[in-house]
Subunit: 394 residues, 2 copies
């Protein structure tokens, strides 16, 4: 017979999950109530309002789906794309590739606009693709590529989509809460996110938002959405407005308590302040990493602050470094995905993980491990560089 699982207390600086605040974990553990309990339904309404705040939108159809970010991605595609629909999909990393796969599985026809892993999406290529495919139904791109840390110019890309009168589908899994995401001002039609990145909630929910134009398209479909669970026409019956809710599936009650609490924390901080905080600690981390001689994968103007991909120095056993960080320092950083496996580390500064304590801890630990393996510059250079940058503020 087994015993209870007591996880170690890690510092989470990988590509997500990020550190979860004690108040969010405590919210998670509050007593379970029924998914149709009137008090729970009031809280659901508040979650919707707080998500509208985070997404900067008045979209009515804004809610958390009962599954991880990949569920949000699939929901957007199966609701908006029908067999034969053409979708211009930007692929500059693993998650763009996953979007393409979702288009295919929905029976759509992907037109791939490819950019190098580690670069932003090139708006000129998108413009060309939409010009060549005037029958396209949608443009889909990843705002901040979790596999590389490249940040694309979502505002410009969305404007191109609208000029060509196609739906603009945006993956904001890593961007939401870390950099500006302006769903209404930039006119996104469908966005999805995850809870375990810059919202610093536990993993398992996927906030989504659909513009009125997209919602109307979904309501008007004659062919049923291929997924019963993700059919927004049914999901709306439970998450809709008013006291009368139609049972669709049993909501993940406790996870929603946690999401509510983590969104409250963002509202309390002010989302613009959260964006600045991510930028601020990224600069300190960058100073430290560069002082160690590490190079960023992404050119400076295309970097997203909350995910820092750096190249593995020659001769370093990268998996050993990560294992040492985890075992000796209780610190998690991320490995590379796909073609970048073994070539980069991904250091996250997401949500609650984005703080001075973590920046200094990460630099100090990485320096110590690399020094121990005979790879590092004089000990202390990295943390000194970060301290210097923090010191300038004082």
């Amino acid at each position: 017979m087994s015993t209870s699982f007591n996880p170690p207390q890690r510092t989470l600086m990988g590509p997500g999950p990020s550190d979860v605040a004690a108040r969010v974990l405590l919210a998670l553990a509050r007593p379970t109530v029924g998914h149709l309990d009137p008090q729970f339904i009031d809280m659901m309404d508040d979650v919707k309002r707080l998500l509208q705040y985070a997404f900067r939108t008045d979209n009515t159809l804004t809610l958390p789906l009962s599954g991880p970010g990949s569920v949000g991605m699939e929901a957007v595609f199966v609701n908006l794309i029908e067999p034969g629909d053409k979708v211009v999909v930007c692929v500059n990393g693993a998650f763009g590739g996953r979007m393409k796969e979702n288009v295919l599985r929905a029976g759509g026809v992907p037109v791939v606009v490819e950019d190098e892993w580690g670069r932003a999406v090139d708006p000129d290529k998108v413009e060309d693709a939409l010009r060549q495919h005037p029958d396209a139904r949608a443009l889909a791109f990843v705002h901040a590529e979790t596999s590389t840390g490249a940040l694309s110019d979502a505002q410009t890309l969305a404007a191109i989509a609208h000029r060509h009168d196609v739906f603009c589908i945006v993956d904001t899994v890593t961007s939401l809460g870390g950099v500006p995401v302006e769903v209404d001002a930039w006119q996104f039609d469908a966005v999805y996110a995850g809870t375990q990145k810059c919202l610093s909630c536990v993993p398992g929910l996927s906030p989504v938002s659909f513009s009125e134009r997209a919602a109307a398209h979904i309501r008007a479909r004659t062919r049923p959405v291929q997924s019963w669970f993700l059919d927004m026409n049914l999901v709306m019956g439970y998450w809709g407005s008013g006291v009368k809710r139609t049972y669709h599936h049993t909501a993940p009650v406790n996870s929603l308590y946690a999401l509510h609490e983590s969104l409250l924390m963002i509202e309390e901080e002010g989302i613009e302040n959260a964006w600045s905080r991510h930028r601020h600690h990224h600069l300190a981390l960058r100073a430290g990493l560069e002082a160690m001689g590490l190079e960023f994968l992404v050119p400076e103007t295309e970097r997203t602050p909350q995910l820092n991909a750096v190249r593995i120095p020659a001769g370093v056993d990268e998996a050993l470094v990560r294992r040492r960080l985890l075992d000796d320092h209780d610190l998690e950083i991320g490995a590379g995905l796909g073609p970048l496996a073994g070539r980069i580390w991904r250091i996250g500064l997401m949500g609650q993980s984005c703080c001075k304590r973590n920046v200094l801890r990460c630099l100090g630990s990485l320096e110590a491990v690399l020094a121990d393996l005979g790879h590092a510059p004089p000990a202390g250079a990295a943390t000194a560089a970060a301290h210097a940058l923090y010191g300038k503020e004082a």
Copy 2:
């Protein structure tokens, strides 16, 4: 600005979620670790082992999917059923109807075997349907219908499926942990469950298990599964054996801590003892409900002990009764679904909710509310009947 949500402390005796033990809520609130953390992966292996114990199976492909029970249902259908595949679907309540809908959305052709809501599935009709449709790919039925409390003879139905050489797909959402579910002995090919019923965990995960025959079928598919998220060929890469796991999606880490803990509780009790406990308290509840003059929807030999559907007495405002129970007694019981809305209450005795304290509390509260509204027999008759039954043991 809002404030933290502090839910009331309810007693959950509806159709799920059921009461969650404090030790499960505390497990839920343990520090989040990464979904590829070696210690977390060890725990995942233990969750698989414990699910095999609960399902009574050696199936390798036994794991919790990252979504509620409806996700388990959809996963089973989209993996096993391809466009054009014929499926004999038994509909004797809301969840059989949902199975039919899932077959349609997977492009399959449902052959519906209908039984009255409140009755078990009739094996003779199933035999006839499979005889008339020798080209069927699968038989699908709900073991314990959550909408009515009818328990079908899963062993007999599975034997019919095997005689006709079709896959046997079983919804065990409400049955798992409450009544015998013998995946191996009864030769089920694909089963799914929920965590918020007799496992008494928080809602949001769906344990599934596939026989080797079903897993081989999925591996051999040439047409990709229509859902990327639910494609078991991809999910297996993360939940498979060995230390090497392929990232598929970010697992709901904290919910899995809770599931681990709730499964441990079942292992500690012994699953046969859990089954007896459900039967035992059902008999006490039944004695009390009958003493109040309430009638069961389902004939005695077809009832599942963990969900007691009783007819609303004439002249009773059923919604008002439920509201009073919730507001004045912090007690949740369930309403009827679909054609049974307004006609029945569903009183759950699931998992941790299935105990003497809850039986007496429910009877006492229901008696008090009905008396207050002028509908009840002499106060105390129901609890006295239950006490009498409990007393016999002593």
